[in-house]
Symmetry: C2
Subunit: 426 residues, 2 copies
């Protein structure tokens, strides 16, 4: 059992901060939230008593869209239009990947997630056994998203993976998914819709990331990607659309009616010049919003603080309204929204019985002072530098700059550099 | 003397990185840059030999537009249009400031500058004696910018300050300036032009930050702020325009012809929904660009890494071109450009004889790996967390999270919170 005391707690589901409340964890769960009596404390044995010293305990961030192993392409293929970047740089380099490479490159990403207070990734990639191994060895949570593309022969693999990875580990689950409309044949999309119906399961997919994607879909099918997906029942049991930059009113109505999450990736959308997603409109329609970094090839970092500032900043610019997308909406998206988009309903906030996916934010830093409004400080001023501790499923994986994921960071950096070196030269 | 060795050096003025080169500092200056002979090393006594361990030494960032003491308004008055924010929130609270408050609030800002690898601020504020005391006590460099407004009676104060603060300390200088067109009477602007001519001195001023400012200037004077300023000779000896969001071609021609710096403040411009400055166009015209955070009331943080990503990200979106504003241009603006906009010509890059204003970037962090391209890593992935050491004028003011500015951070945080508390209640 671990006791967090003497600090502030931002529980997210009720109010933004409270004082004098303690949070206890037992194994992987939060076992107590409240003000304990002297008796409660007397009879309790804690493995560790963590004095928050006035700092903030809050739910960890969840990264609702990423391709973790793409760390190898960070700062490798910048400054290209999305389609060129994807087809000329990313896909040829990806063809050189194998399981062992994915394993090490994923571990590199996990280190970075921990530095930004993130304990779970909604990851769309391949070499899943090796990805899962990297996550479970590290103690890091992940929801795998089906990443199939091409023709309908991939459907069998998707279904097998769905059955294989769900229930494999408490840290791992698998959501039906496919890459995107523009990389998949009609029969494949149709087939995923049938799997969604068969398993009454949500589906996640890249959706309306670029104007080109939407235009070409209209040319091919006469409808938007969302309408096309809907016609095949893709979203009949909910799910998520990654990016959602170019959404029609009809598209958004489908998202609202079918409880689909719009996963916002502002860092990637600016870096690849994709556009600014209509988040303010999406919010006003009551559609759920989650936040993700996208992969490190397109961002290039995995920094939830940067994403949070971009989420509000871009809306203020796009709406010409400095009051657009206020800080509390952003915090909601980065914690509760992202967790629920990944169906991690037990990792979304601080309450007894929930998973102990928690972070400690250092308020004794100049960017958090004075304490006019802690929530706004985090969104408008926060940085990785403020993350003192990251706990996933009750285990401390990062504290005061040190990592506790088994492997030493130096080993991971060395492997990552060797891998990129060998791929460039092959 | 301090010896930096065994790392990478990004000198800025020639190429982006070199290996095996050492940098030595002597008192406030860089005394040697190169590969020393065994003999050179043998005869030399160093006060400290800093093993870079493969990390990066580079010129520090300079913040080319800020109002440091406005830390007290951080997260206090967010989510309002610029004019309301300024006239209804900022100005009434500022009226409650005094010298002692400015002293402590400035120290808070200095702590934050150091965490982001920034060693100099181009500061526009008041209570200058107290501001200067805070800077010089801390060992932090600053260029004060005249901040007068109202009628021409303020001119005497501006001239007195110009004469008083230049040459007062090696860390302090003063540039002629006034707040903005919309807060100054015509006679005051005209008077500043005469002072510029008298001292053959550059002038810095808020310029074309909002569409409203430019529109109302046109209604009042029939010209843009830049044209108005130019008609009074404001820029006859160079200078700077803070923000430059709404600039006509004629305005930009004036900037180019008179060697005026466009000081870009993207964080503030998005947060206050001011707009996106035409940086790509400004760059293509060969106009000098500097980078600043603006004050913490409008940003809300003082983070040069965030500004760097925003500078490139917003251009990619505004130009619909993922290759817009590449990383090297951003690094130039944040180091050389900002230094020169402040007339800190001896603080702009790493070379023998220049001021020792240096930072060490920790490359042994997940967001800096793999080392595909260090410059791009800094701009696209960098964060405060990567700043290992900040040196100003040869003195280490920040290292591994510890501050060496005399005052303890806890004292400064306590004072800042007391000050904001007393102001809210008065």
């Amino acid at each position: 059992m671990i006791r967090f005391y003497n600090g502030k707690v931002m529980m997210m589901q009720r109010g933004i901060e409270t004082e004098n409340i303690e949070v206890w964890t037992d194994k992987d769960k939060i076992s107590f939230v409240g003000i304990p009596s002297a008796e409660d404390l007397q009879n309790r044995h804690f493995d560790r008593e963590y004095d928050l010293k006035g700092n903030l305990l809050m739910p960890s961030f969840k990264n609702a869209h990423t391709h973790s192993a793409m760390t190898f392409l960070r700062s490798y293929a910048d400054d290209l239009p999305l389609q060129d970047w994807l087809f000329k740089q990313v896909f040829p380099m990806e063809a050189k990947l194998d399981g062992e490479k994915v394993y090490w490159l994923t571990k590199l990403a996990i280190l970075e997630y921990l530095t930004t207070g993130c304990t779970a990734a909604f990851d769309m990639y391949f070499e899943l056994d090796d990805y899962v191994k990297a996550c479970t060895e590290s103690g890091f949570r992940s929801v795998l998203c089906g990443s199939i593309s091409g023709d309908s022969s991939a459907l069998e693999r998707l279904e097998n993976n769905y059955l294989k990875y769900n229930g494999k580990s408490p840290l791992i689950s698998f959501m039906l998914g496919f890459h995107a409309e523009y990389t998949c044949e009609k029969e494949l999309i149709e087939g995923v819709g049938k799997l969604a119906a068969k398993y009454k399961a949500p589906v996640a997919v890249h959706n309306s990331e670029t104007a080109k994607e939407v235009r070409e879909c209209a040319e091919k099918y006469g409808v938007t990607p969302t309408k096309l997906f809907d016609s095949f029942g893709i979203y009949d049991f909910g799910g998520a659309g990654f990016h959602c930059v170019y959404m029609s009113d009809e598209d958004l109505n489908i998202f609202r009616d079918k409880d689909v999450y719009a996963v916002h990736c502002p860092g990637s959308n600016v870096k690849l010049a994709s556009g600014i997603a209509p988040i303010t409109k999406i919010q006003s329609m009551g559609i759920n919003i989650a936040l993700g970094t996208d992969g490190p090839a397109s961002n290039n970092c995995l920094d939830m603080f940067r994403e949070m500032f971009l989420m509000t900043g871009l809306q203020k610019i796009a709406c010409n309204d400095a009051s657009a997308c206020p800080a509390d909406k952003v915090l909601q998206a980065a914690t509760i929204g992202s967790a629920r988009a990944m169906t991690l309903f037990d990792c979304d906030c601080i309450a007894a019985g929930k998973q102990a996916d928690l972070i400690v934010i250092d308020l004794d830093q100049p960017n958090m002072q004075p304490l006019n409004n802690i929530g706004k400080n985090i969104v408008y001023s926060g940085s990785k530098q403020n993350v003192k501790l990251t706990m996933c499923a009750g285990k401390i994986l990062y504290e005061n700059g040190d990592f506790f994921i088994g492997e030493k960071p130096e080993t991971i950096y060395k492997k990552a550099n060797e891998i990129i070196g060998s791929m460039k030269n092959s």
